[in-house]
């Protein structure tokens, strides 16, 4: 399971999307500044629980959470997820 929490204003979130697309990963994208109501409340609660800080991008790749655009960490997590999907 891969999920990307991002913001449409955040260039690092675009870089994270590009990396996932480049790896042909299937992922769910949640852009928190473009949603509202219950969807937003739920997404922010998830980010708060995962990271404690509402800074983006936040990537959930299997059991790994990566906050910020850290390509090496993301690649390693993608490799693990490809071998042993959660």
């Amino acid at each position: 399971m891969i999920r990307l929490y991002g913001m449409s204003t955040c260039p690092w979130c675009r870089r994270a999307k590009q990396l996932l697309d480049h790896r042909a990963a299937r992922y769910e994208l949640i852009e928190v500044d473009l949603i509202d109501g219950e969807k937003l409340r739920k997404a922010l609660a998830e980010v708060d629980e995962l990271c404690g800080k509402r800074a983006f991008p936040v990537l959930v790749i299997g059991k790994t959470v990566v906050q910020g655009f850290k390509p090496e960490e993301i690649e390693r997590a993608l490799d693990r997820e490809a071998k042993d999907p959660v």
């Binding site: 913001m7 204003t9 260039p11 979130c13």
Partner: protein, 132 residues
């Protein structure tokens, strides 16, 4: 003579060498914002210097980087674009990588003003980078 000037942008006070006069344009040495002196009596008051948003944030970022000895990289333009989008949507230059639009997240954000770049090598959104 040194005078303490309040910054309307970062809410900090900074020391100014000389005598400020009404209408004078000065730069906040804490955040790099360009300010206009509104009045000097009984105390000095400032407001943001009126200019187009793009000119304002570019000048502020350049001033801040120069004052602290920071540098930019190729992400400068996309980050400025995000800051301008937030200005259009929310009325100020809130960090493009954070959800909460609070005064502490107005660029340069409080963390950055308190030395995050020196410690971590970059600010959270990566606009300002340590020179080394």
């Amino acid at each position: 003579m040194k005078r303490k000037i309040p910054c309307e942008v970062c809410r900090a006070g900074f020391m100014y060498e000389g005598e400020p006069a009404e209408g004078m344009s000065i730069t906040c040495t804490v955040c790099g914002a360009r300010l206009e002196v509104v009045t000097t009596h009984p105390a000095v008051e400032t407001r943001r210097y009126v200019q187009a948003p793009e000119a304002e944030i570019r000048e502020r970022a350049e001033n801040f980087a120069r004052l602290r000895g920071y540098r930019f990289d190729e992400m400068k333009e996309p980050i400025l674009k995000g800051l301008l989008t937030n200005h259009r949507r929310f009325g100020d230059f809130y960090c493009p990588c954070r959800f909460d639009n609070i005064p502490e997240h107005i660029c340069p954000c409080l963390e950055t003003r308190l030395g995050e770049v020196r410690k971590a090598g970059r600010c959270l959104c990566g606009l300002f980078l340590r020179a080394d």
